[in-house]
């Protein structure tokens, strides 16, 4: 295995830990945190590609910078929704938000 494979394996492991958190946990805050783990895993993979691939230049760094910015925007809006929802429902458990259930 080349070094980029080791970094991609690490990124895959972290991504699947985050995916498990999104799928299994019921607390909305924990789901948001697991989403952040998944985004970090993707960032590790992009940084590994940027470092080890020839002719990559700085493109991987640009992708990571934009993903970090969009993750900051996403977590801000997501947690604002969680807080606004908590103000109405007094709960942060995802399976109690069932108004739209048919």
């Amino acid at each position: 295995m080349s070094p980029v494979d080791w970094y991609l394996t690490l990124a895959t492991g972290l991504f699947c830990i985050g995916a498990y958190g999104v799928l299994a946990r019921r607390n909305v805050l924990l789901i948001v945190m697991s989403l952040e783990l998944m985004l970090n895993a993707v960032n590790i993979a992009l940084a590994a590609f940027a470092n080890f691939m020839p002719h990559a230049g700085a493109r991987g760094t640009f992708f990571v910078l934009f993903i970090i910015t969009l993750a900051a925007a996403e977590v801000t809006v997501g947690l604002a929704i969680v807080v606004a929802n908590y103000r109405n429902r007094r709960s942060v458990q995802a399976d109690e938000f069932s108004e739209l259930k048919g």
């Binding site: 080791w6 805050l29 960032n43 977590v75 929704i81």
Partner: protein, 169 residues
């Protein structure tokens, strides 16, 4: 320390650190413990950026994730009542399906990545200077740069509108 090479020992320390702290995020029953584990995991990812020869990304990771996003998450935990959520068990009904799915996805993606020939000569690193990043960001990528600043502004306004109390103008 030779610049930009692959260090197996440092990589293993960093990888174990990141994965253990990541497992802590999904495994702790207390949400505050999960958030603290998430902060440590973000620090490990910053170490990964340092090992990947991307010091700028490591600094931005610490500033944005360890500094800002962690504080926002802790504020959200503080503003919501977490007393009853300590009973959210690690192995609930969803986890029975989610754990094999996540493990299977990890195995499949790892096998695909390792057996594919994406990195034929990917052993030596290719250093990108800070000046190269800056000139690329403000020349070829200036439109996504401005677009992402607009997205940040929209997210800021959206968060204020969403989290504002309804009865106060």
């Amino acid at each position: 320390m030779p610049h930009g090479d692959f260090h197996p020992v440092l990589f293993v320390i960093m990888a174990v650190w990141v994965l253990v702290c990541g497992l802590g995020v999904v495994a702790f029953r207390n949400v505050v413990h999960s958030a603290m584990s998430m902060v440590l995991c973000f620090l490990g990812v910053a170490a990964a950026y340092v090992l990947l020869n991307a010091g700028l990304l490591a600094i931005i990771q610490i500033l944005v994730y360890v500094g800002a996003i962690s504080v926002v998450v802790l504020f959200a935990i503080m503003m919501t009542d977490q007393r009853e959520t300590k009973l959210g068990f690690f192995f609930n009904r969803q986890a029975i399906f989610a754990a094999p799915l996540a493990v299977a996805a990890a195995v499949v993606i790892t096998v695909i990545l390792v057996t594919s020939k994406m990195a034929p000569n990917g052993s030596q690193s290719h250093n990108v200077s800070l000046a190269g990043i800056a000139s690329g960001l403000f020349n070829g990528y200036v439109f996504p740069f401005e677009l992402v600043s607009f997205v940040l502004l929209a997210a800021m306004i959206g968060a204020i509108v969403l989290a504002r109390k309804e009865d106060q103008p």
